[in-house]
């Protein structure tokens, strides 16, 4: 027998035996920290049928395949290896739409999906007309995603922020003032490994918003203290599976924020603005207002002017809302992706003359079917 024949057979048999033994020997992982999702768990056919109504045997077999792939030994390492082979070996410009320029990661979003944007803007118009007929200010702030700062320089396709803004201007009701945020931000105001912005870099944006909402005439020092959580890997890090350095997750506190109370109108629970226990969870960015919550009421116990701000937001809003609280007695935070306005209005006392801030990133507006109509 030739050496090559022997080596090939030995390697193949080792691989054939090692993989199932490793799979059996290693305990099943509940979640993938890097992908931020639960992993499929071992389940008998009977258990599967109980949890998947109407499922058939073929569905169960498909589930088993998912389970085996999810629990494959060294799954995370193999994903990184594959991503590196694609990007550094095959010179692909992105890995499953994720790309890296310098130390920053982002996700390709090359074209404006006009139907999605128009649908979202019509919803906003309808909400403002129906629920906010009073004298409050209505402001729409368009958050540029990271692509606006890094796509062009890296040679990646991306829509123009100004084109997006023009569409917003032409679709929104005239009484809603529009604040472009591009000029207040730079790439370094965002985390390198995550799509979100860094709260500590947003003071100028917060001032601009408050001025347009008419509660301030100029910037004020709120006396913030900065706290830092090191080794933060954002969502892009796991999804891109490319080697990156961790970020630092920082947040600002002061006496007002320490005393503020966050009421979750869905779960009827109260919490603080910053939920530091989330730093150890799958997504440390959930620190801000507890992450993806449908309907919150943030009460400022130090401000008794009775003024209410209703913020319609996506996840970017979680870190911005704390910076807006000083001048309001209450901020109602609504995520129209998870709750419709008719439901929200039934759960929280919303004033017709409240100020309204529509704070959305281009990436969420550009996602078809993102909002509950």
């Amino acid at each position: 027998m030739k050496h090559r024949t022997l080596i090939i057979i030995v390697i193949f048999i080792v691989a054939l035996v090692a993989v199932p033994i490793s799979t059996l020997a290693m305990p099943d992982r509940q979640i993938s920290e890097v992908e931020r999702r639960p992993l499929a768990q071992a389940m008998s056919y009977q258990e599967y049928l109980k949890s998947h109504y109407g499922a058939e045997l073929a569905d169960y077999f498909a589930y088993l395949e998912t389970y085996l792939l999810d629990q494959f030994p060294f799954r995370d390492d193999l994903r990184v290896l594959t991503a590196m082979a694609r990007v550094y070996g095959l010179r692909q410009r992105d890995n499953n739409m994720y790309y890296k320029v310098g130390e920053h990661l982002s996700k390709l979003d090359p074209v404006i999906r006009e139907n999605a944007v128009q649908s979202a803007l019509s919803l906003f118009n309808e909400v403002c007309r129906t629920y906010f007929s009073g004298q409050g200010k209505h402001v729409f702030a368009l958050i540029p995603d990271k692509n606006a700062f890094m796509a062009e320089s890296g040679g990646y396709p991306h829509f123009q922020y100004d084109s997006f803004l023009e569409m917003v201007s032409s679709e929104l009701d005239a009484q809603t003032q529009i604040l472009p945020l591009l000029e207040y931000l730079s790439l370094d105001d965002y985390y390198r490994t995550d799509p979100h912005w860094d709260q500590t870099k947003l003071l100028a944006v917060a001032d601009a918003l408050l001025q347009m909402l008419g509660v301030r005439n100029d910037a004020q020092d709120e006396g913030y203290e900065t706290h830092v959580h090191s080794s933060y890997f954002g969502t892009f890090a796991g999804q891109a599976a490319l080697p990156v350095k961790p970020d630092e997750l920082a947040w600002l506190t002061n006496e007002t924020l320490d005393q503020a109370i966050v009421y979750d109108a869905i779960t009827k629970q109260t919490a603080s603005i910053y939920q530091t226990d989330k730093l150890e969870g799958t997504d440390p960015y959930d620190l801000f207002l507890g992450g993806a919550q449908a309907l919150l009421s943030v009460k400022n116990l130090k401000q008794l002017n009775g003024r209410q701000l209703v913020v319609f937001r996506d996840s970017y809003g979680s870190s911005m809302v704390p910076l807006l609280i000083a001048d309001y007695s209450e901020i109602v935070v609504v995520d129209l992706r998870y709750v419709s306005m008719s439901v929200a209005a039934g759960l929280v006392d919303i004033h017709a003359d409240a100020d309204v801030l529509l704070l959305y990133s281009t990436s969420v507006l550009n996602s078809p079917g993102a909002f509950k109509q």
């Binding site: 027998m1 030739k2 050496h3 090559r4 024949t5 022997l6 080596i7 090939i8 057979i9 390697i11 193949f12 691989a15 054939l16 035996v17 199932p20 058939e56 045997l57 073929a58 077999f61 395949e65 792939l69 494959f72 799954r75 193999l78 994903r79 290896l81 594959t82 991503a83 082979a85 694609r86 095959l90 010179r91 692909q92 410009r93 992105d94 499953n96 090359p110 074209v111 040679g155 990646y156 396709p157 599976a241």
Partner: protein, 452 residues
């Protein structure tokens, strides 16, 4: 796991292991249709036995016809039923209710295997199989069940009973399997990603349409030939020798040459069981044209119950008729680079028909490729993806030629067997690891030929 059990059991149980594994494999994919596969196989088996028993020609012929009709029934019903119904309804709206049947996996492949067996028994070209389990194993043998190649019974009849796996054969099976896995997972799936990305941009330009066509042409080759390599490799690991299904088709110097190199098991099936029985080329000129027409109409139809597949088949009928009428001789005198490019371009255009979801879409794309749709010459996304996938496209182009094999041969020729062995082993390990990583990372990517 099958391999471990297969080599752990005594020789007399090996076929039982393969049969059970094959049935489990099929049931794993689609439990409901296993009964159709098994009953069609048993119909073919019984037809073979009956034909063998009968002595008079009429009886044998009648049994052949009935056997073939019964074996074809599931294929006609599940694959073509709604096509006919929908076309009848186009002429007479609401005349018939659609069946809405799901296509059983691999039905086109195993039906053709069974048909070839029944016809071969009738022609006395193959010994009648008396063991139903052996016959069922031939039909359901998992390496090639769902996407070919179409294996004739005579190819493996002897090996079902007597086969011997040498270490060299087993290692060559591993090598072939891993190469096939790499072709499918590392090249075809990446190209599928490129095609999907281009299609998802929502914008079309002349360049993007050509890129989609070119990408699909490469993708389908690596997808299907990768699967055939895996089937051939697995076959060797179990001691079977399947015939080759591809022979560098994109180096063909004519369309006739292409069909001698592409999906060879299907081409030879139509040649032996349709074209030659109709008289083949030993008939008058008009009859030859008619024979070609029938064969290519059926070839197109075999690939899918849709007008674009029929158009694809007839496209080849026209090209082959033209080559047969004399253009083939012109092609043979041209420099090989010219005739290869000519063939490759036509194959590309053919795959535009093949890849479309409807005939209308195919016509739109073809017109767009030649500037008849008022589309821009290029677009941003096509340029981006062209750059992003340039290396994988280049690798695919090189891997579609014998160049890698030639290079390995050259290394050996300079008496560097050790280096050649090292390159081979390292290459196989790398492919295995990267393919595993890609499968874990990627979404489910079924083989294109599943749908046939």
């Amino acid at each position: 796991m099958v391999l471990v059990v297969y080599y752990a059991v005594p020789r007399r149980l090996k076929n039982a292991v393969l049969l059970i594994a094959s049935l489990v494999f099929y049931i794993w994919g689609e439990p409901r249709f296993a009964i159709i596969m098994v009953s069609t196989a048993m119909t073919g088996y019984l037809a073979g036995l009956l034909i063998d028993c009968l002595k008079n020609a009429k009886g044998r012929r009648a049994t052949l016809i009935v056997g073939l009709a019964l074996c074809l029934t599931p294929l006609l019903l599940f694959k073509y039923g709604d096509f006919f119904i929908n076309n009848v309804n186009t002429v007479f709206p609401g005349a018939l209710s659609p069946l809405n049947l799901v296509l059983p996996i691999g039905v086109s492949f195993y039906t053709f295997q069974i048909l070839s067996y029944v016809v071969d028994v009738y022609r006395k070209q193959v010994e009648t199989e008396r063991n139903p389990f052996y016959f069922l194993m031939y039909v359901s043998f998992f390496p090639q069940l769902i996407a070919g190649p179409i294996v004739r019974f005579q190819t493996i009849q002897e090996e079902i009973r007597y086969r011997h796996v040498t270490p060299e054969l087993f290692a060559s099976g591993i090598t072939r399997f891993v190469i096939g896995l790499g072709k499918k997972v590392l090249i075809a799936n990446n190209l599928a990603g490129l095609g999907a990305n281009l299609a998802a941009t929502g914008t079309r330009s002349v360049i993007s349409l050509w890129m989609i066509a070119f990408t699909f042409t490469l993708q389908i080759y690596f997808d299907f030939s990768g699967y055939s390599d895996m089937a051939i490799g697995l076959g060797r690991m179990f001691g079977f020798h399947f015939l080759e299904n591809f022979n560098y088709p994109y180096l063909s110097r004519s369309v006739s040459d292409f069909w001698r190199r592409w999906h060879m098991s299907l081409g030879s099936w139509f040649r032996d069981y349709v074209y030659i029985p109709m008289g083949g080329s030993r008939v008058s000129g008009p009859k030859i044209i008619l024979n070609l027409f029938v064969v290519w109409l059926l070839t197109g139809f075999w690939h899918g119950a849709s007008w674009n597949f029929i158009a694809w088949g007839l496209f080849y009928f026209v090209l082959l008729a033209i080559e047969r009428a004399g253009f083939g001789r012109v092609l043979s005198k041209l420099p090989s680079a010219v005739s290869i490019i000519y063939t490759f371009l036509l194959v590309n255009l053919g795959f535009v028909l093949f890849n479309a979801s409807s005939l209308g879409e195919a016509i739109f794309n073809l017109k767009g490729m030649f500037g008849f749709q008022a589309l821009p010459a290029t677009d941003l996304m096509a340029v981006y993806y062209g750059k992003s996938y340039a290396l994988i496209l280049l690798i695919a182009c090189v891997a579609a030629t014998p160049l890698p094999k030639w290079l390995l041969g050259k290394i050996k020729a300079v008496k560097a067997d050790f280096v050649a062995d090292l390159v081979t082993v390292f290459g196989l390990v790398l492919i295995l690891v990267l393919a595993t990583g890609s499968l874990i990372d990627g979404s489910f990517n079924p083989f294109l030929y599943f749908r046939f």
